[in-house]
Each structure stands twice: as C-alpha cells, then as structure tokens.
C-alpha cells in the first residue's frame, strides 16, 4: 500500500479495501491453473488461438 501511495495512487477508500478483501477470497474460489495450462507445448495466454480453433467447427 505504501508503494501505491508513493506512485500517487489513492488507496484510502474503505469500500475499495473491502472489494480488495473480496478479491482475496476470490483467489480461493477458482482453480484455474491446472496441469494442462502448465504444459509448455501450449501457450496458456494465447486465447485467440483457441477462439479461432473452436470457431472453425461451428457452422451447420
């Protein structure tokens, strides 16, 4: 938080802190990074490749 203040950011809002706390709780909610996304054969950030791959199969 001190680092954020040093950058000139406003971090004194109680509601923001409450939302941040909620985000901490969200960390525990989802388990997104399974073994599959640690597979170095696939770039886990290349979302568009997957969108296009799945998009190629959709016409009826």
């Amino acid at each position: 938080m001190e680092q954020a203040r040093a950058l000139g950011l406003r971090v004194d809002d109680a509601e923001s802190r409450a939302l941040a706390q909620m985000l901490d709780e969200l960390d525990g909610l989802f388990q997104p990074v399974g073994d599959a996304t640690r597979d170095p054969s696939e770039d886990p950030f290349d979302f568009m490749r997957v969108v296009r791959e799945l998009g190629e199969r959709n016409e009826r």
């Binding site: 954020a4 950058l7 000139g8 950011l9 406003r10 971090v11 809002d13 509601e15 923001s16 802190r17 939302l19 941040a20 985000l23 901490d24 969200l26 960390d27 909610l29 989802f30 388990q31 997104p32 990074v33 399974g34 599959a36 996304t37 696939e42 886990p44 950030f45 290349d46 979302f47 568009m48 490749r49 997957v50 969108v51 296009r52 799945l54 998009g55 190629e56 199969r57 959709n58 016409e59 009826r60």
Partner: protein
C-alpha cells in the same frame, strides 16, 4: 416518450425508400434531429449532437445516391455512436469530466467503417463514466423515466427505444451492450471477441472489451455487424478474421438449430416474471422448429471470478496514470473499481488469464451438440434511479453483481451473445432474452434472434 414517431422502419426498407426517391437522407436526418429535440431534454441519451455535420453528410449521401454511387444499406442512414468511441472532429468525452472538451483527430476503426459505408454520424450517446458501470447517469429509460436505461451503453439503447437514432454502436466488457438492450427493449449484440476492432475505443479491459451494434431490429444488427467486422492491423485480436454476409445468413432461418437451456446458474436468483418470459421465448423457438435441450453450464463462479480479476486488473492499469492526476474528477463508483484493481494480486490476474483458454474449451464442450444457449439477459427489469440493491425472490442483491452475473461470463469466453426483447413484466417494462453462440457463430445467434423477433410482436410495444 410515446407515439408512432418513435418507430423507425428497418434499414432495408429505409434504404429502398431512399433509392426510390420517396425519402432523402436530409429528411431522414432532420427527422432524427427533431426527435432528439423532442425527447432529449428528459431522456439525456446524447452528450453531443452534431446537427450541422450530419446535415452536410446527408447532403453528400444524397448527391452520391443521385449519382448512382452504391455503398450499401447504411448509405445515408443516421447512426449514433457511444461516447466511448472516438470520432474525428466530434467531441468525445468517454463520459468523463476530464475529457469534457476532448475532440479526437482521428476516427475509431469502427467509425471509419461506418463512414466508408455512407452512414451519417448524428451524435454521441451517453456512457457510464469510462464505461465503468451499468447505470449511465443522467440518461433515463424511455419506458419509465424514473428508471435507469442500464449501461454502460445506456445512451445508445435509450436513443433506439425512443426513436432518436436509427441504429447505434455500443461497447461491452461485462454486459454493457446487453444490459441496456434488455432494459430498453431493443436488440444488442456483443460479437465474438476478435471479430470487431477496438482501435479508437477507450479501453476498459483490452482482454474483455467488445464493440457491437444496438438496434431496433435483428436484421439491422446483422447489417451493422457486416460493416464493422473484419481484420484491423492495429488490433491483433482481429487478425485473420473473416466476416460472412450476416444478412444473407439470416435467410437460412432457425429451424433445425439446437438450443441449450442451462439447468444451473442462469435461472438462479432471477425474477419470476423474467424467468417465465425467457422460458416462454424458448417455447416460441421450439414451435418454430428449434430443438431444445437442457444442459449443465460449467464453473460459472470460476468464470465470473476470473472475469472480475482480469477486468479490475486492466482497469487499474488503464487508469492509474490518469487517476493519479485527476482522482477528484472521477465519480465514486468508478473510483471504487479503479482502486480495487490496485489491490489485486498479480498472481490472481495471471492465473485468471491463464485459465481462459481452458475454461472456454470447457464451456464449448458442455454445449455438446447445441448451437446456442438461451438464458435471461438480466435477472430483473430496469431498476429505479438511485437503487444500489434489488430484491429478487424476497432476497436483496447488490445491483452491480446482479447486472453482470449472467453476462460477464461471455466476455470472458469471448462467445457471441445477442439480447432481444422477449416480453414485458406486469409494470410494462422490457425483458431480455440472451442467445449465446459458439465462437464466431455470430450468424447463428442472429438467425435465432430474427426467428424469435419474426414470431412475436413485442416490437409493437413502444415506450409510453
């Protein structure tokens, strides 16, 4: 807001009349400007009206049509543009006091494409500040002026419902096209991620932002999408994108398509009248030859959590420098979102992004053989101005989370999602049906939406 003057014909009909000499682009623009004058003191859908420029563009369109220069259905059609989208020489505020006098020196790619198609930019429609919310103050809902239009593209949807625009452009990061479409009883399409360029659109979250049409008719959305879709070398997500002829695709109809209705999440914590209207809409589709089946939607809470983390992280990144200088000029609800992002753990953001391809595969896999999902767009009808919580089934829910929980999952997956009006509640407020397709199957959701629109007469119900 009442009266027949709020009803425009479909663009195809207007285009035919323009070419038959029954109507001129100038007369059409004058009709829109007159309607803005008539309604916008109360409605406040517009932040900027560019009457002079619009009349000049209409004259140019008239000359071009007279000379036989054919540019397609949008030629000479008045279009409004969300004030988050940059327009050369026309004030673009992003809904912020910081940019109250900002006049861009270039058009957003989507605006360039509208202009190339001969459309006439008639004005800029109000957005929630930097698109960071679903309220869009001070715009009001044409169906009840004491209620919000939704947002963040609230001005666009209100203008379409009130007849002060023929078609409009909006943007959607967590529901910002579909929320106001639902509350205002109009059509809103969030296209597939990567189909439409975001260049020149103030970013909320580059991983989740989409630009799309808000219209009265599904066919108009198909026309508009056909104009704005396609590759833009300045937006990497659009690389290699091929946009089919969406209007031609509509002719295939919807019979034989398969629709899935999720058993979980999408009908939980939904107002009873809304749920009944959406289930009735699915029955209408079934009568028209659409096959319907139930399915389980995977990991909605995880999808929403990951969406939230990406959205907040990228909002903070986009705004932190501006915020450091101009914090006092931001609205309290916007401040809260920005500052929440300052607290986000780096690993939460990274894990959320890494989860995205995998979760998209799971969602598409769960769709099995269905072509689209049919779910409510919103769990409620338009709330009253000033409400921050809503009652659903006797329980109080935070308004912001109620607004995004059925929508943001599809910003995360990038799937195309269309909202069409599927009825009205007992207070005569519109209800939205959301149709969600597979990636790049935008034509499929348009076909379903068109089939539903054709089978019902909700369009006959005008504000007032």
């Amino acid at each position: 807001m009442s009266g027949e003057e709020s009803r425009f014909e479909p663009m195809r009909t207007i285009a035919r009349r323009l070419r038959a000499g029954e109507l001129t682009p100038g007369a059409l623009v004058d009709r829109v400007l007159a309607r803005i004058l008539q309604t916008d003191d109360e409605l406040k859908a517009y932040t900027t009206v560019c009457a002079e420029e619009a009349r000049a563009e209409a004259e140019a369109a008239e000359r071009a049509l007279a000379a036989g220069e054919e540019k397609g259905v949008l030629q000479g059609i008045p279009v409004s543009v969300k004030d988050l989208i940059e327009t050369k020489g026309i004030r673009t505020t992003y809904g912020s006091r910081i940019f109250a006098d900002n006049v861009p020196d270039a058009d957003a790619t989507v605006v360039t494409r509208l202009r190339d198609a001969g459309a006439v930019i008639v004005g800029k429609t109000n957005t929630h500040e930097f698109a960071l919310g679903g309220i869009t103050p001070p715009t009001r809902n044409p169906f009840d002026l004491d209620r919000i239009p939704g947002g963040s593209s609230g001005g666009s949807a209100a203008a379409i419902a009130a007849g002060s625009a023929v078609v409009s452009l909006g943007s959607d990061t967590g529901g910002s096209i579909r929320i106001p479409a639902s509350y205002c009883g109009v059509v809103g399409l969030k296209p597939t991620y990567g189909l439409v360029s975001r260049v020149g659109v103030f970013p909320e979250s580059w991983s989740l932002d989409h630009v799309g049409p808000i219209t009265r008719y599904v066919e108009d959305a198909a026309y508009l999408l056909g104009v704005i879709a396609g590759p833009d070398p300045r937006d990497h997500t659009t690389a290699g994108t091929v946009a089919p002829d969406y209007v031609a695709e509509l002719e295939k109809g919807a019979a034989g398509l398969r629709v899935g209705v999720p058993r979980n999440h999408f009908f939980d914590d939904v107002d009873e009248e809304v749920a009944t209207a959406v289930r009735s809409a699915v029955q209408v589709l079934a009568v028209g030859g659409v096959e319907v089946e139930e399915l389980d939607f995977p990991k909605p809470d995880e999808l929403l959590a990951a969406h939230t983390a990406i959205d907040l992280g990228e909002i903070a990144s986009n705004h932190r420098r501006l915020y450091a200088v101009h914090a006092e000029k931001y609205q309290p609800d916007t401040k809260m979102l920005i500052e929440a992002g300052f607290f986000l753990h780096a690993f939460t953001y990274v894990d959320s992004l890494r989860s995205r391809p995998q979760l998209l595969r799971e969602v598409v896999g769960a769709m099995g053989s269905v072509d689209a999902l049919a779910v409510p767009t919103q769990p409620i009808v338009a709330p009253r101005i000033g409400e921050t919580a809503v009652m659903i089934g006797g329980q109080e829910h935070d308004l912001y989370f109620a607004m995004v929980r059925l929508l943001a999952v599809f910003n995360f997956t990038g799937q195309p999602a269309l909202s069409v009006c599927c009825g009205f509640d007992s207070r005569k407020l519109p209800i939205g049906l959301q149709l969600v397709g597979r990636p790049f199957a935008d034509a499929t959701v348009l076909r379903l939406g068109q089939a539903y629109e054709s089978a019902t007469d909700w369009l006959e119900r005008l504000p007032g």
